[in-house]
Subunit: 396 residues, 2 copies
């Protein structure tokens, strides 16, 4: 097991009715002036934004609101947030929405006290923030795990090229996360399934590691995956099943607060391979992951057959083939793809609306000529190309 630090001082308020108490949560931190960040339609139409604003008002908390965050959140809106937040002299940032909204709020929170261009400095040059406003969230889409993570992903077009990039920083960890499963009951099936796929990918990026002897973290990873796999079909069967929605929502937090990753090297190649798909086609991140993860697994399987066999047996319920474990390992990937299909996810380029002829463009976006990808297997340009081709051809 590798040495590690783990520090997740987020206060979770989990359960039905919690979203009406957000003003109380901000007031408890002694904050007076909030930058309120949200997305579009549904949070407004459902009355959630209204109720959050009323809750802030009832505690005498001023706010300035910025709506319109899109999936694959754009830097442009972060600049707007930074400007409005500075003008109003806010002392707190509150996100109401899913991962894109929370990531926009996180980027604004470190951007507001920063003198330079937040995207260029933190997301391109790789500088680390040295200050940040405190922030919290009301989560409406269980998926990205941003409510408990130290990372934020922002997208920007620079010199005609779409850059989708993440930043990890302790300043990105929310002070609180309000998690009310009832808010997720109206999510469309496709979005629910995309979210669940993203959660699973967050665990699997940490599961496939070369670090040996981290049994406790392995078992935690398997636990989160098993819970998601048994819960998603229940949610899709009955979207108003509170218990199922609640289990899925909390699983999404545990999938990405790094409890599943401590003490070991992590991979993250598949996330980066996918980011280029959603950058190029503006597809859902989860859908892109459902296509790319099995492809990555097929390509890397021989690097550690027993690790894939363990995944297949413990997570996908495949009987162990002791005579030839590679059969077990392969069957695990087959079942994972089958699971993704069963919850309505695409598993091939064609189903996603991606094109094989765009692979050079994807590799270009990935910038793979300048660096390698992944850790479980270190991938160069040829490897990444082959993985994209597996995804392009898997339904041949």
């Amino acid at each position: 097991m590798d040495n590690f630090e783990f520090y997740r001082p987020t206060q979770y308020f989990f359960g039905q009715g919690e979203s009406a108490r957000v003003g109380e949560r901000v007031a408890a931190l002694g904050k007076k002036s909030v930058l309120l960040v949200y997305g579009g339609g549904s949070a407004v139409r459902s009355g959630l934004i209204d109720s959050v604003e009323k809750s802030l008002e009832s505690f005498g908390i001023a706010y300035v609101a910025v709506g319109g965050v899109q999936p694959n959140p754009r830097a442009a809106l972060v600049y707007t947030c930074i400007e409005k937040g500075r003008d109003a002299n806010v002392d707190f940032v509150l996100a109401v929405g899913g991962g894109s909204v929370i990531d926009t709020a996180k980027a604004a929170a470190v951007g507001i006290p920063h003198e330079g261009d937040f995207f260029e400095d933190f997301y391109i040059k790789g500088m680390q923030p040295t200050a940040g406003l405190p922030h919290g969230c009301v989560l409406t889409i269980p998926a990205a795990g941003s409510e408990g993570s130290n990372s934020a992903v922002i997208q920007k077009e620079v010199d005609g090229k779409v850059i989708k990039q993440g930043l990890s920083s302790q300043f990105n960890v929310p002070r609180f996360a309000v998690m009310d499963p009832t808010l997720t009951m109206t999510l469309p099936d496709y979005q629910t399934a995309c979210g669940a796929t993203d959660m699973m990918a967050h665990v699997m990026e940490r599961y496939f590691t070369n670090t040996t002897d981290v049994s406790i973290t392995d078992r935690i990873c398997e636990a989160v995956l098993l819970s998601i796999i048994e819960t998603v079909p229940r949610v899709l069967e009955d979207p108003h099943n509170y218990g199922a929605r609640a289990n899925l929502m909390w699983a999404g937090t545990l999938a990405h607060n790094n409890l599943c990753g401590v003490g070991r090297e992590q991979d993250w190649a598949t996330h980066h391979l996918e980011h280029q798909l959603s950058a190029l086609y503006d597809c859902a991140h989860g859908a892109g992951l459902a296509v790319m993860f099995p492809a990555w697994m097929e390509y890397t399987l021989n690097h550690n057959v027993m690790r894939f066999a363990q995944f297949a047996h413990r997570v996908m319920g495949v009987e162990m083939d002791f005579a030839d474990p590679v059969n077990t390992a392969r069957e695990g990937i087959v079942r994972l793809r089958h699971f993704f299909k069963s919850i309505g996810m695409p598993v091939s380029f064609k189903e996603l609306g991606a094109r094989e002829e765009d692979i050079p463009a994807l590799l270009n976006l990935l910038g793979i000529d300048k660096h390698s990808e992944g850790h479980f297997v270190v991938l160069g340009r040829d490897d990444c190309e082959k993985i994209y081709r597996i995804a392009a051809h898997c339904d041949d």
Copy 2:
């Protein structure tokens, strides 16, 4: 799933070499004057206390030390800590040791700013602390999980009766926990096994619940139990196996930071039944739990056979008997007792050195005439007596 709050702002510094950096950790919090609490022999003999003191000195941090904490930590030493801490005007409490040392430090941290008698007010009258000094720890015994929990257990003789009582409070959550598995390599086998048993009990107290549909927390509980069960024999086989020691140490934290308990009713009857054994016989808490938990399980099995069958199948690896699940459930308890025996734990009164004729005294200490115990099954005096008798007779 029940609504819940979860807030564990402890910063973990995990890995070999971390204990030499404790001065840096205290300095990072801006603290200048430390009450240093430790136990006895081994931490001094090993040079650990010396190295911690040097680390504090190198960051210009003053300290006043109180050693001599015993297992089943006594209030008397907490009073000493409070007095010394006040005299030196400390702004931080640092525990170096296992659960008893950390709990003593926690009690001192809330006792120092409290005007009244800490034990009478917090531990007998049930008042909640409204202030507390910040505190941290260097963990040397993985067991109690106090490094990540919000609870502290202290023992005191009041009017000739030994009271062993816990206090849960957010002020009890450490600011940081330094966890260096190499410090645990010299623990005797018996103490290692007692610690592992305590960890397992922390999970099982949360596993047997009447709250339905908390799959994610169930799976996390099972993960922690599975990891402990597969790791303890490796530690006993080779006490200097770093990876095995590291897995066990982190499992102990996850077993009791309430990740295994969120969203559900918990039980804790077995802990209370055991506390009277260790109060009366001054036996190791873990050893008492190895005796009491299977006894409690036998007594409560019929309350929810399928829950015990799930435990038996998923944790103890028992094949499911679909025709008669009670066989699976019972076999789970048999295997648990067998596991405890295999790691050197007592499983009966006789092996523990307890006496059946003391059962009335145990019930008296428990104070069971004034309240009930447990939640999974609510236990009255007769129930508790029967559970003690199962423990007394299980090796007949």
